[in-house]
Symmetry: C2
Subunit: 175 residues, 2 copies
């Protein structure tokens, strides 16, 4: 499947609703537990989505599209949600994710995408030159990878309860 | 986290809505492609959920709770969806999943669960003796494992589009 802006929008538009449907009104035992060690809970993942909306996807797109010679992206802080969200409820985080995503979708829809535009580049701190098309594709896959993570983290809360079925449930053996 | 019927119902009640929010109105390129070979598409997974509602979870629970001496479960057909669903749209399958799940939730809510009841056993074709509590826990984890699978299958459709970011996106390297 090749990237096009419409197929990307089909996923980006629905992710906050998917996260809300998965998590709204669940008690803390489903949303605040993690996979052990310094892994993330479902709550942490929602905070990570918000930080991406504010500092990653659109700011990097704007660097690519700017007239500046300097196209270097700022590094993304994968742990910002731990300091940003102290004291906020999951409901508040989901509302914030929805609002930020909506603003970003409005911006995306204001752009006339062309092959020329999608092939413009910025400089990633690790990978070097990357295209706008790769950045936007990554945004889509990033949405899905964290739905993947949320479902795995939740599944693991029942790991000891499934008895011998664990063998059939691949999710319990992934990390 | 230990199994209890309320925490299990919190997940079982929402899964059809999660699947609907993830997939409704998507074009075939997102829902009909798989991970290659004989792996499953998102569409196939929805058919698999329906087959589980009809032949797996509640029928096995009823074997455990019956007065019959014979407690052997029928083997579950993991490929039934390929013959059952020919010609049906994804929207039809989601509606069927919702209806079947609702009926099964009504039945579950009609039962007075006690520790004695949850520890009753049936005979799994491979594992031998398993408890009702393990069966119901597995139903919950099974719901989550297939949300996990759907998000992975969809993510992989953009695998070649993300360029060097593939390295950061674990979902693209799982199977």
């Amino acid at each position: 499947m090749q990237f096009n802006i419409n197929s990307a929008l089909q996923i980006l538009e629905r992710t906050p609703g998917v996260v809300e449907t998965m998590l709204e009104n669940l008690p803390d035992e489903w949303i605040m537990n993690n996979e052990g060690g310094d892994s993330w809970s479902a709550y942490d993942v929602v905070g990570h989505y918000i930080h991406g909306e504010k500092t990653d996807w659109i700011p990097r797109m704007q660097i690519i599209l700017s007239d500046n010679k300097e196209k270097q992206f700022a590094p993304f802080d994968r742990f910002a949600q731990f300091s940003d969200n102290k004291g906020k409820s999951l409901g508040e985080l989901i509302a914030e994710f929805k609002k930020s995503r909506n603003e970003n979708l409005q911006y995306l829809k204001s752009i006339r995408f062309s092959d020329e535009l999608l092939n413009r580049t910025g400089i990633h701190p690790k990978f070097g030159s990357v295209t706008l098309k790769q950045l936007l594709s990554t945004w889509v896959v990033h949405d899905l990878t964290h739905i993947y993570q949320i479902s795995r983290v939740m599944a693991k809360q029942y790991e000891s309860e499934v008895g011998p079925w664990k063998e059939f449930l691949g999710v319990l053996n992934d990390r």
